[in-house]
């Protein structure tokens, strides 16, 4: 599945997030990231734990406020129009839990309503979701009594309860068993085929390999490379995504403080991609950032 000519639904330009910590001083969790994605595309953020994936996605979902740069979802700015942004996206992560004392059905109804789905069409929508995700059997069971597989289904259903055009899956397969993880991948594929824009983050290579149309390699808050799997293979000469990832990471780690701008050449202009991604890596930003 390749990107199409449509306009991007998610646009991220020079996004950065700096935390101030009592003990560590300034921490650059996300240090100027650019990317965009389009309807019908799965964009994967690949990175180790603490690379800045979650922070980036949380900024997109307006839970965190960016320190710099811009991000738009469906044309709405995450800083100035957070409600409109959230209305048009569904956010799923391993840490977004469900209310234990609501039933599966009530959960879906609740999230459809507070996401401003037209109230008169909520019951209809809930029926649809119950059927589609196979929740029927336990729709009246309280979430606390459900098995983790059932919970997962309810959780995905609640993410798409208001039928948002953009979906964010932040490490969705963490803690799932093989079958459940496969189920998750399957659902994401289906959603993509329906024309949703999907942002997906993971540190599991095989998943990213299988699922993502384009991949961004993220490390220490920077985007090291971005492109389709094929493009990345070509650029690095490695076949497996794992090796590609290691290739980039060791290059930055090994030559600390090297002109990161040089990395830009790794990023060819994607075919049909209007804006070249060359400038995507900011220049002159100070390196590292762990020391305050």
């Amino acid at each position: 599945m390749m990107t199409t000519e449509t306009t991007p639904t998610v646009q991220v330009e020079g996004l950065r997030k700096t935390f101030y910590d009592e003990s560590r001083g300034e921490v650059h969790a996300v240090d100027g990231i650019d990317f965009d994605c389009r309807p019908g595309e799965v964009f994967g953020l690949l990175g180790a734990n603490g690379a800045g994936k979650t922070t980036t996605l949380r900024m997109l979902s307006t839970v965190l406020r960016p320190t710099g740069g811009r991000a738009r979802v469906m044309g709405h700015d995450v800083v100035t129009e957070p409600e409109a942004v959230r209305e048009s996206l569904g956010f799923y992560s391993a840490s977004t839990a469900l209310y234990p004392r609501l039933t599966a059905r009530e959960t879906l109804e609740f999230f459809a309503r507070i996401n401003r789905y037209p109230p008169d069409r909520v019951p209809e929508r809930v029926e649809e979701l119950v059927d589609r995700f196979g929740i029927r059997e336990y729709e009246r069971g309280r979430v606390e009594k459900l098995s983790s597989g059932m919970k997962q289904k309810v959780s995905i259903a609640r993410t798409v309860a208001h039928d948002p055009p953009v979906l964010i899956f932040d490490e969705p397969t963490v803690g799932l068993d093989v079958l459940n993880a496969l189920e998750m991948v399957k659902v994401i594929r289906e959603l993509r085929d329906e024309g949703k824009t999907i942002l997906f983050s993971s540190h599991i290579m095989s998943e990213v390999e299988k699922l993502c149309d384009r991949i961004g390699v993220i490390h220490r808050g920077r985007m090291l490379a971005m492109g389709t799997l094929e493009e990345l293979r070509e650029l690095t000469g490695e076949h497996y995504l794992e090796d590609i990832f290691v290739h980039y990471v060791t290059r930055t780690e090994g030559v600390e403080g090297v002109e990161l701008g040089a990395m830009g050449e790794l990023e060819p202009a994607a075919p049909g991609d209007g804006e070249g991604a060359e400038e995507s890596i900011p220049q002159g930003a100070d390196a590292g950032g762990e020391e305050a």
Partner: protein, 726 residues
């Protein structure tokens, strides 16, 4: 326009959805509801009933007990006669026989020791006139000696009892040495002994009065003695009003506690519980705005808090109605419709404030447990102002109306008593409601505070330890210092004397404590104590600022005294530091009371404490916190206003100049100015600066602070909002 209305409608629907689900989830939490709501409904009356039972049986035991007494002294035979008359005495005004009264004389070899051992309840010591006179003189001499000893120690007020005794003997024509004396010896720590003494004394008084009467009659006094200059009391208050006066004092605190404990059931779960479970993040990624979330949850807390309060009051009413519980005697509670409406109106902002405060607690806590740690202090903070009506002379027509909670409490009392001044009730309503809205705003902000939302983040300070932990522990340490300070000054204050106390507090607690903390947390000394030279202009500013601040502080204290509540002059003086000690040369005074506090208090408060707080809070909050804590270190609650003011200003000086030196100078000047002019006789002891000076001082103080701000060294900012983009 229509679009906007459409949007508003949808807003409400989101709010209603959250509220509905919040309540539904609570109702499904059967265990919490059973234990936190239902069980107390049954248990509380049960306990009240049990305690009433025990109390009544205790009373009966006192009533029916057999009291053992012994009679001693040279006039024992005479005394037995008096006691017999006393025990047989009947109240002529009442047809009911007096309460059963069982006094048994018990002969024991050593009555005094038997009394002490608890074998006797009472010893009646009957003395001949000469003996009684001797005993009385001895007592008087002792009392006078005690008073003199206290006066010699310094500071101790005159012994009121001794003075009264001496006065009584002087004034009355008491025929010392001519009448017999009866002394009732009892043990104050025994209820029975005390009861025996009270009852016998009462009856002895009665028969004595009857005897006097007959003496007067015998010599031709025309009327019974008890008809002379009779005082007739007449209570004009209706029963409702009396009930209202009691109810007016307890109603607000009572409802407050109920609302707090009821609202807490849901508030604990509302944000901190959601953080713990991870559902808060889910909620924050939905299209509901933060203000919708906060408003809906606040509403839920309010609904539950009010419901629990209503249920509890109704429950008590049912028990009262069934006669299971009794109201205190003579209490009749009857509320008119108008009063009820007025009360509802006044409790509305209170409920808003309570729910906002609970939610705020929940918002700043990362987990359910953390919430619980803060819950108890919150109850205290809200409960103390609600006790305002207890203070004598507290009127709604004063600044109290502007104090949240306190204003409402006083207004509620007025509604129940005599009618309320609606203008001031409105002010009370407004101030409390405004506080509620303000706090609700804080809750909204807490939902944007990243450190608070994501609970899972690793707390690195724990791993690094040392200096990184200090900001979080600084309050606990200062609480500890305060306790030590408090205990020493009250427990050993007299023994140490002024100089000793200054040395112990300043060198021992403040300086020693500071050194300890610096060592314990390996704090960088230079940075912690802000040991760096300020801009030269800062010195000038301090010279101008110190006297100005002193004047402003005096003015402020006067303002509080006049408009909040008047604290009597003697009280202030009694609690003022006894600065002027006799035989204390001026240079020593200046050294001990100005220079030493200036140095050591600054090191502790504007050095270590400020350093700790500054890492966590913004400059305004820091200055305020440092000031208030500094104020609390001056023991007497009434002196908190001027000292806290000085503390805030000095903290501001350090923050502005980034140096501790101007603050030290300022502090020394401040203290010296309240000593030297009086000691040298330039100013009279009771000098108060003319109030015209206060506005002038405000201007000069502002100018001095402005100068410090202008010349303040610019440091790279700690946490830039936006980093420069490349």
């Amino acid at each position: 326009m229509t679009r906007r209305r459409e949007r508003d409608r949808r807003d409400l629907s989101v709010l209603a959805t959250i509220l509905r689900y919040e309540l539904r989830m609570l109702l499904r939490d059967t265990r919490t509801i059973l234990i936190a709501v239902v069980a107390p409904l049954i248990i509380l009356p049960g306990w009240i009933l049990l305690s009433n039972r025990v109390e009544r049986s205790d009373e009966r035991r006192l009533e029916e007990a057999e009291y053992r007494y012994a009679v001693t002294g040279s006039e024992a035979a005479w005394a037995r006669e008096q006691i017999a008359q006393a025990l047989a005495w009947q109240d002529p005004d009442s047809d009911r026989p007096a309460a059963p009264f069982s006094f048994v004389e018990t002969s024991v070899p050593e009555p005094d020791s038997a009394l002490l051992a608890g074998d006797l309840h009472l010893v009646v010591d009957a003395l001949s006139p000469a003996d009684f006179a001797a005993v009385l003189r001895e007592e008087l001499a002792e009392a006078i000696a005690r008073a003199e000893a206290a006066a010699a120690e310094g500071g101790g007020g005159p012994d009121a009892r001794a003075a009264a005794l001496a006065q009584a003997l002087e004034d009355s024509d008491f025929p010392l040495g001519e009448v017999r004396g009866v002394r009732l010896l009892y043990r104050a720590q025994s209820d029975f002994s005390r009861n025996a003494q009270e009852r016998l004394e009462e009856r002895l008084r009665r028969i004595r009065a009857a005897k006097r009467d007959s003496v007067y009659r015998a010599v031709g006094f025309p009327v019974p003695v008890e008809t002379v200059a009779v005082v007739v009391e007449e209570d004009v208050a209706s029963a409702e009003k009396v009930a209202g006066s009691v109810l007016g004092l307890v109603l607000t605190p009572f409802l407050l506690v109920l609302m707090l404990s009821g609202g807490s059931i849901i508030a604990a779960d509302a944000l901190s519980g959601e953080k713990e479970r991870g559902t808060l993040e889910t909620l924050l990624t939905t299209a509901a705005t933060r203000s919708e979330i906060v408003r809906a949850k606040q509403l839920a807390v309010m609904v539950v808090g009010l419901a629990v309060a209503v249920v509890n009051v109704a429950n008590l009413a049912v028990y009262l109605g069934l006669g299971v519980l009794d109201l205190p005697q003579g209490l009749q509670i009857g509320l008119s419709v108008g009063q009820t409406l007025a009360l509802l109106f006044l409790f509305l902002p209170l409920a808003t404030l309570v729910s906002a405060a609970l939610l705020f607690l929940s918002g700043v806590s990362k987990s359910y447990r953390e919430y619980q740690i803060y819950f108890f202090p919150l109850v205290i903070v809200l409960l103390v102002p609600s006790l305002a009506p207890v203070l004598p002379g507290m009127e709604l027509r004063s600044v109290i109306a502007m104090v949240p909670v306190a204003g409402i409490a006083v207004a509620v009392r007025d509604v129940l008593l005599s009618g309320v001044d609606w203008l001031f009730a409105g002010i009370a309503f407004g101030s409390t409601a405004a506080a509620g809205v303000l706090i609700a705003g804080w809750v909204e902000n807490s939902l944007s505070n990243e450190r608070l939302i994501s609970s899972a983040e690793l707390d690195e300070a724990d791993l690094i330890g040392g200096a990184a932990l200090f900001p979080r522990h600084v309050f606990q340490w200062f609480l500890g210092f305060w306790v030590v300070f408090f205990v020493i000054s009250l427990w050993y204050g007299d023994d140490l004397g002024a100089k000793g106390q200054v040395v112990v507090n300043l060198v021992g607690i403040f300086f020693g404590g500071s050194l300890f903390l610096i060592r314990r947390y390996r704090l960088p000394v230079r940075e912690t104590l802000a040991l760096r030279l300020p801009h030269p202009a800062a010195w000038l500013a301090a010279l101008v600022g110190a006297p100005s601040a002193l004047l402003v502080g005096v003015g402020l204290a006067e303002l509080v005294n006049t408009y909040v509540f008047p604290v009597p002059e003697e009280l202030l003086r009694a609690f003022g530091e006894s600065l002027a000690e006799p035989g204390f040369p001026l240079w020593q005074m200046v050294f001990f009371l100005a220079v030493m506090p200036g140095v050591f208090e600054e090191i502790a408060f504007r050095g270590v404490l400020l350093h700790g707080i500054r890492k966590r809070w913004g400059p305004w909050a820091t200055a305020l916190a440092v000031g208030v804590i500094f104020g609390f270190f001056h023991v007497a609650l009434f002196r908190i206003v001027p000292t806290a003011f000085l503390g805030v200003i000095l903290a501001g000086v350090v923050l502005l100049t980034r140096s501790i030196y101007p603050a030290v100078l300022w502090h020394i000047l401040n203290n010296a100015m309240s000593i030297v002019p009086f000691q040298l006789g330039w100013l009279p002891e009771d000098f108060t600066p003319p109030s015209i000076l206060t506005p002038v001082a405000v201007v000069t103080l502002s100018a001095s602070l402005w100068l410090m701000w202008k010349t303040s060294p610019r440091e790279p900012r700690l946490a830039p909002r936006t980093s420069p983009s490349g």
